[in-house]
């Protein structure tokens, strides 16, 4: 029987995978991938709660805005990574040490 907890478990796995990617990967772009996974997990929860708990569509709107903001964040994040590469010739996380670029 497909019920709310089944969706919660799936978004939990997504969250864990996103967290693992962010912690373990050394490449900044891979970390941005992790952020996308985590945002997906959150948006999925909102849609699940709308379906099973109360039927008004605020959950869907919240997921919609999460997707919009995640896209804007990915755009700016990748721009920073490219700029960082042009300065430092490498996008390895250990090279991002100084605060002034």
């Amino acid at each position: 029987m497909i019920s709310l907890p089944s969706y919660l478990i799936i978004s939990f796995c997504l969250f864990i995978a996103g967290l693992t990617v962010m912690i373990a990967r050394k490449n900044i772009i891979a970390m941005l991938l992790g952020i996308e996974l985590i945002l997906n997990a959150a948006a999925l929860n909102f849609a699940a709660y709308t379906r099973f708990i109360n039927q008004n569509l605020d959950g869907h709107l919240m997921s919609l805005f999460i997707i919009v903001i995640a896209a804007a964040e990915a755009a700016v994040g990748l721009a920073i990574v490219i700029r960082f590469f042009q300065i430092k010739e490498s996008i390895h996380i250990d090279d991002a040490t100084e605060l002034q670029s």
Binding site: L4, I10, T20, L44, L57, D58, V81, E89, D95
Partner: protein, 176 residues
């Protein structure tokens, strides 16, 4: 009957894709597995009756963000392993014992915490008869334009900021 099949397929794609994204060494493969995960999540939205969200997920994520990621990977030296200033070849440490142990340890801790939080919900959640639920784009549209019109306008300003900011940052000409 078909709902169960679709749910299993979508859930398998999501979990499998996210696991492979975490553990694939090559960055391009990670991007493709992210694409698979996004398709899985879009299928999950479909089973939840949120068909507009499924389409938005396809358009914005699978169509936009993944292509942006692929271009960014190409613009930052492709997927060759990293050689930093001193020429030491830092192999990406994914897939080694260290990372699996971290992941395993973290999963154990997090699952205990999550189970502790979710236990009351599982108990109290009586899967009674689910009320009929179907959403159409018109419902989301009316909500978006009547109750949440402020969020609608602010997101346009947010997008403007993101566009101008990213364009300024990635403009090549500037030197310090």
């Amino acid at each position: 009957m078909f709902l169960n099949i679709m749910f299993l397929l979508a859930a398998g794609a999501t979990i499998g894709g996210s696991f492979l994204t975490a553990t694939s060494k090559n960055l391009m493969h990670a991007c493709i597995y992210l694409l698979l995960t996004l398709f899985g999540v879009s299928g999950l939205y479909a089973t939840l009756g949120a068909d507009f969200l499924a389409a938005t997920q396809l358009v914005v994520y699978a169509g936009g963000v993944v292509i942006l990621m692929l271009f960014a990977i190409m613009l930052t030296g492709g997927v060759r392993e990293f050689v930093n200033k001193f020429g030491i070849d830092k192999v990406a440490s994914m897939g080694t014992v260290k990372t699996y142990s971290i992941a395993g340890f973290m999963v154990v801790i997090m699952s205990f915490v999550i189970m502790k939080i979710l236990a009351p919900i599982f108990k109290s959640y009586a899967p009674g008869e689910l009320p009929g639920f179907s959403t159409t784009v018109e419902k989301i549209g009316t909500l978006l334009i009547t109750d949440h019109v402020l969020a609608f306008e602010i997101s346009s300003i947010l997008l403007l900021g993101a566009l101008v900011g990213a364009a300024v940052i990635s403009r090549p000409g500037r030197t310090r």
